[in-house]
């Protein structure tokens, strides 16, 4: 099979086969990243633009490294708030970039749907690196890649996603990806943080952490956005971490050898107790390596001649 999409706007438009194709393609690039010369000429002469309207060192650096290892030229654009104040819209900025003959644009933006809006207005391929609460497809794909390495089979894999699901694009993308490949997904958190009708996406909802963790193979902790405290979503950080924080005792409720994942950065002592955080730090490093491989795979698959 081949990858027929022009953009990667989310997990929603992908089939299970396409997801597996991306993961298999990433295998080749993980091998490249293990060489002495970590470069292949596959995207030589192509220009990749990182257009990040939200600050993000990790994701941006990961894409930059991925593009450079494919021999592409990379430009980083972080429009400051002032250009938006001056009235330059997303599409204006994008057209300026297109005029530089960008082949691929990696976009992170605070508004849901921004990647789709951009894709409609430019000729380049667009990769969504996070649009508001909507999706962060490359994060979900790298999470799946890590799971594939550690757990092999997705079918029936019990995964608990814990935290502020309503405001998490990582959660949405992971829910979509995991259900497509046959995993058994549940979401755990206070109801104030669960979006309307989340069960209709094929997941089970738990508002008590102990019940939600029972027998799971994978625990994905979401970051609690502390700045949200003022908006009546939860009373205090103290109460949140007591009810929904992952501690060593709670970890025992899960299956032996359960994997703990976190998209980072971790609020130690809030979502995860410090001792638990330290014990699984190795998975986080894996996620960084895998992130570059997965993003190289996506850049490669999207870089066909644009019609």
């Amino acid at each position: 099979m081949s990858f027929k999409h022009k953009h990667l706007l989310g997990i929603a438009p992908l089939s299970a086969e396409e997801i597996m194709l991306i993961l298999e393609t990433a295998d080749s690039f993980k091998e490249v990243s293990g060489r002495e010369i970590k470069k292949v000429p596959a995207l030589r002469g192509k220009t990749v633009v990182n257009l990040f309207f939200e600050p993000s060192t990790r994701t941006r650096t990961s894409f930059e490294l991925a593009a450079k290892r494919l021999s592409a030229d990379v430009i980083n654009f972080s429009p400051s708030n002032s250009s938006v104040v001056k009235g330059e819209t997303l599409l204006d900025t994008a057209r300026n970039i297109e005029a530089m003959q960008a082949d691929l644009i990696v976009l992170r933006h605070p508004a849901a749907g921004a990647a789709e809006t951009l894709a409609r207005g430019v000729k380049s391929s667009v990769i969504n690196a996070g649009d508001g609460w909507h999706e962060h497809p490359t994060q979900a794909l790298l999470d799946l890649y890590t799971l594939r390495e550690k757990k092999r089979d997705f079918k029936g894999l019990r995964v608990a996603i814990v935290g502020d699901v309503a405001h998490s694009r990582v959660a949405r993308s992971n829910i979509l990806a995991l259900t497509k490949v046959g995993a058994d997904v549940r979401v755990v958190g206070p109801r104030t943080m669960m979006p309307y009708g989340i069960e209709r996406l094929g997941v089970r909802l738990y508002d008590k952490l102990d019940e939600g963790l029972r027998g799971v193979d994978v625990i994905m902790m979401l970051r609690l956005q502390l700045e949200r405290q003022g908006r009546a979503l939860f009373p205090t950080i103290r109460e949140y971490s007591r009810l929904y924080g992952l501690t060593a005792e709670r970890l025992k409720l899960a299956e032996a050898g359960a994997l703990v994942m976190h998209p980072g950065p971790i609020n130690r002592g809030v979502e995860i107790a410090p001792d638990v955080a330290d014990s699984f730090s190795s998975v986080i490093l894996d996620q960084v390596t895998n992130g570059v491989a997965v993003r190289m795979g996506i850049l490669y698959l999207l870089s066909g001649a644009n019609g």
Binding site: T89, A111, T117, H134, Y196, G197
Partner: protein
């Protein structure tokens, strides 16, 4: 000038529904009846195969002048109105500056006179600057020509201020129009809170945000005995409460817009900003409730909430795009789909656009009774056409109905006995 409209089917709700001629003299309806005779120098309009109705009345439009003339002016807005068969429109005060005083009202009326298209009846603000704190000079606004008061665009959040506005308005016999939205519940939302907003990752506005304010307004209307008019209802809950309030004799009239009986929240999929408005498109169950409300008279009036915005404003990411769509030039064929579906008879549909709005706002319009102003619309109900925003008379093109194949077209619009639009 004398005009004779010959051979059409006249639908004048409550008066005539059948083949008849209409004779217009000196800007008034002179006679309606079969085989009328006209003087030799009369203009004869052949309405064979067409339907002749009173000119439509839209109780809810936004004309953007003064302040946002790049989106629409009173001239372009009234041109759009008559192209859609609307001979009278009520324009909301959320201009810049807000129409909360006599000078702005007079400015609007003067611009409307100069344009010479549809009649414009301004709606004045309830509070100064529509800030929701102090009452505007409602008496003055009435005297200057306002026919209703509203802070539309915004609700009056403070219930005490709303109570006082209702009590005060009784003396001037103007209805108080509220845009029912609890701003705390709707905070940050840009579409209906539901399965689609969850899938798209967009912040949602729950139906409760509207229901809560409808309930409050009905309670205040009961307390004060004022005339309450509820703008653009969109939820099943609102319809249910208004139905109940009417049985208890509360003086409330309600309005619904074509997009709330034609589209659901699914129209937003793909982040379509032409499906972004306030109140938002809701679920299929809400659409059915609106239709039921129109059928049983709970909802008295169809209005457009015509809200022009420039193309580049709508071309932004969804959260940044402004709310609203234009509606004057598509309202009639969309209303006719309700007739086709059997929700309304043709006469009832015409009433929702003529006699009912006139009654709600106390306008001496919306009828073809002899002696009435000669505001008449002739339509071909069988003519199919495709909605092409490039052909709109409005300055703006923001409609979700672009490319739709619809049936029913206005062929002639007459205001005060003058032909102001011909297809």
């Amino acid at each position: 000038m004398t005009i004779l409209i010959k051979g059409g089917q006249v639908v004048d709700p409550g008066r005539v529904n059948g083949p008849a001629d209409v004779l217009i003299e000196n800007g008034k309806i002179a006679a309606v009846g079969p085989k009328l005779k006209a003087p030799a120098d009369a203009k004869v309009i052949d309405a064979t195969g067409k339907v002749v109705t009173p000119g439509f009345i839209d109780l809810h439009v936004h004309f953007r002048e003064p302040g946002f003339e790049y989106k629409e002016t009173i001239q372009s807005g009234t041109a759009a109105a008559v192209a859609g068969g609307f001979t009278s429109v009520c324009c909301m005060p959320n201009t810049s500056p807000v129409n909360d005083n006599q000078s702005i009202t007079e400015f609007i009326l003067e611009k409307a006179r100069a344009a010479g298209n549809a009649n414009v009846f301004p709606v004045g603000a309830i509070t100064k600057g529509s800030e929701g704190k102090e009452l505007a000079e409602i008496g003055d606004l009435r005297r200057a020509g306002c026919v209703a008061i509203s802070d539309d665009g915004l609700p009056v959040m403070n219930s005490l201020v709303m109570r006082r506005a209702m009590e005060y308005a009784i003396a001037f016999d103007v209805p108080v129009v509220d845009h029912c939205e609890d701003l705390h519940l709707s905070e940050g939302g840009c579409m209906n809170e539901g399965l689609v907003s969850t899938q798209l990752g967009l912040p949602g506005v729950p139906a409760a945000a509207e229901d809560v304010m409808v309930a409050r307004n009905l309670a205040l209307a009961e307390l004060t005995g004022a005339r309450l008019h509820l703008a653009h209802l969109s939820t099943a809950g609102s319809v249910r409460m208004v139905r109940d309030a009417k049985t208890r004799g509360i003086k409330v009239t309600a309005e619904a817009c074509p997009h709330h009986f034609m589209l659901t929240e699914e129209a937003v999929c793909g982040y379509n900003t032409h499906a972004k408005m306030n109140p938002p498109l809701r679920t299929g169950a809400d659409v059915q409730a609106i239709k039921d409300g129109l059928r049983d008279g709970t909802i008295d009036v169809i209005a457009t909430d015509h809200a022009p915005h420039a193309s580049q404003e709508k071309q932004q990411e969804f959260a940044a795009a402004p709310n609203g769509i234009v509606g004057l030039e598509t309202a009639w064929p969309l209303t006719l789909t309700l007739v086709e579906e059997g929700v309304l008879s043709l006469e009832a549909a015409v009433a929702k656009l003529t006699t009912e709005p006139a009654k709600a706002f106390g306008l001496k319009k919306g009828t073809l009774a002899p002696g009435a102003d000669a505001d008449v619309v002739i339509s071909d109900l069988h003519e199919g056409w495709e909605v092409d925003p490039a052909c709109f008379r409005s300055k703006s093109r923001n409609t979700p109905f672009a490319g739709w194949k619809v049936k029913g077209r206005v062929t002639t619009t007459i205001v005060g006995g003058r032909v102001v639009y011909e297809a």
